[in-house]
Amino acid sequence: MLVTTFVVLVLLLIAFVAWRKRVAERRNRNRPGFELEEAPPTFQVVALGLQGSGKTLLLASMYHRLKSPAGQSYFLKASPDDVLHLNQWFSQMADTSGEAGWPPGTAKGETRHFTFTVKTQIASGVRPRPMFHLKYLEYAGELLTEPQAPGSTVQEGLFDEIRRADALIGIIDGNHIRQHLDGAPQGQVRLEQTLNALVPIMLEAECPVSFVITKWDLLADVHPDERVRLELVQDLLTSNDHFRSLVKIHGSSRVVRLIPVSAVGPGFATVDSTGRVVKVPEGKVHPTRVDVPLSAVVPDLFAQVEGRLDEDARMAFHAEVHRRNQLTPLEAVASLVTFAGRTAGRAMVAAFGPSAAVLTGNAVMSMLLDSMGGGRGEPRGHLDEDLSQAERDHQQFRDARRQVIEDMRRKVAVLEDQLPHSRLS
């Protein structure tokens, strides 16, 4: 009897264990197992700009420029609903026929995120792979300057987003600069308003900040040489005490940029006798540098993180960068986990500040370390033939991601080369 009982107990135990295993398997069916593949991290971008400063058109034009991999290795993919909105804005902006005007301003109720997936082709015949996401907030500019109506919560939501941002882009209306340079009091007042709204927010930011001058085409006749033109604008902006102190404070630990852009390009629009910006009949859209502000986000964030490390952490960081290139992809994953637990790894995470991207796992750290590596040309400590197919795929993925970051850096470098005054710090 005792033996029978024991056997029944063992059988029950086996049945119970088998049942638990089956339940666990069912739960894990949709979860990724141990894979080399890294989940693409998300970086949040907030463009700070007053109403009418050109945020929406910059967004639409930027997407239009980056929706295909023309001129760079990457492109942006958005949801069908987002694409619908972006295309609608761009089409209306580009339309010079009849009564087609500019798109109407963004209402407070239209506050929303546009999530762009940065994709790249890893190998021929293979579908483009997502590298990371850029989440861009679109909102009504008056939320930055006008008091919130009783019972509204949208303004609080905006400031929460600003606090969590991985990059802040301050939008300055080029038309107001133009008016100011022309000696119109209205231009001075509006520029003051803009800086009064932007500078206090940006002063508190821990993430990289840059300034974008929209409607750059309207300043074309300020000076024929674009370098001189930007220098004049920089002088004007730095004549503002608040702006100057912001650049001084942030410039000590990070890059502060001044990026002139035009969503429509030269010759498309002009200012009429009433001071309104109107389209030129038969004008053609040729956006200028609209891709640079978004392309600078990740490289600037990474540069800022590296700049915040102390000497020891920086040395450990560079040693890890070098080591990763000598390791097989599988070994690199294990090495990353070890590095993340060390003092240098923890210092690196802390250097990201309140960024939400770094909390999503080791993908951002892997991305940062790889982006500092030598790329395809650097000799590796292993032969591709020795790798499994999964490891080779992952190696290709990392190479492609490094190339994307490299292309983004190149865009910024070209800007700095063309317009040295685009670097404020």
């Binding site: 209402a107 407070k108 109720g109």
Partner: protein
């Protein structure tokens, strides 16, 4: 189920931007003004993707009051305001107007209700354009609703973003677990009260022993006798 009913009431509202000032509520139901809750219109009213598209939006104010907001978008014409319908940046002006109903849901809004609201909205908008800086929100007066309204059904709020609800175990799973535990319990009890056959044969008055004692490794050892240190 209650069918649609007429005879309810509603309040007109208007959300719009001026030539210089940004989007804001210009006309709001008097009760929302009194409650300091009219900002809910700023948050939820947005232009339709198609011109004159009618939207019916159930909303809850910050103080928890459920409302139905029916609205549409009207592109301002020169005839509406007797001047160029553009803001200082050259962008078109648009009115997001409609009515707020606090008694039930509006399934198919009657165009006559929206027509009446548009007339009111344009009149308010003209006053706003006349003095954008000094303008204060006007109180919309209650009017009899022609649109059919049905009693509001309670809609559960979705859980906040970023949270997930753990899946509850199925009823079958629970029953299996309980059955296994009961069976194990019964068997353990049976085991505990069962005498080894050889002992039973030797002593018919065999006293059941405790499972713990059967299994305890130190059952024959003196207490703490073999413990290290």
């Amino acid at each position: 189920m209650d069918g649609p009913s007429h005879g309810g009431s509603a309040w007109p509202f208007l959300v719009a931007r001026g030539r210089y000032r940004g989007y804001r509520t210009l006309l709001a139901p008097d009760f929302l003004l009194a409650d300091g809750d009219y900002g809910v219109l700023d948050d939820f009213v947005k232009p339709g993707t198609v011109a004159e598209q009618v939207q019916v939006v159930p909303v809850v104010t910050r103080s928890g009051r459920p409302l139905t907001v029916v609205h549409t978008t009207h592109q301002v014409t020169a005839a509406d305001i007797e001047q160029a319908p553009r803001d200082e940046f050259g962008r078109p002006l648009q009115l997001m107007y409609g009515f707020v109903c606090d008694e039930g849901q509006v399934g198919a809004p009657d165009p006559a209700d929206l027509d009446a609201c548009r007339e009111t909205a344009i009149a308010v908008y003209r006053r706003f354009l006349g003095d954008e800086e000094g303008f204060t929100v006007e109180a919309g007066r209650q009017f009899p609703l022609r649109s059919a309204a049905t009693p509001r059904t309670v809609v559960e709020r979705p859980p906040p973003k970023g949270t997930s609800v753990a899946s509850a175990p199925s009823r079958t799973g629970c029953l299996i677990r309980v059955a296994i535990l009961v069976l194990i319990g019964v068997l353990l009890y049976a085991l505990a009260t069962q005498c080894p056959p050889e002992q039973k044969d030797a002593d018919p008055d065999c006293v059941p022993v405790h499972v713990f004692e059967l299994c305890h490794p130190y059952v024959d050892a003196p207490p703490y006798g073999n413990t290290p240190g």
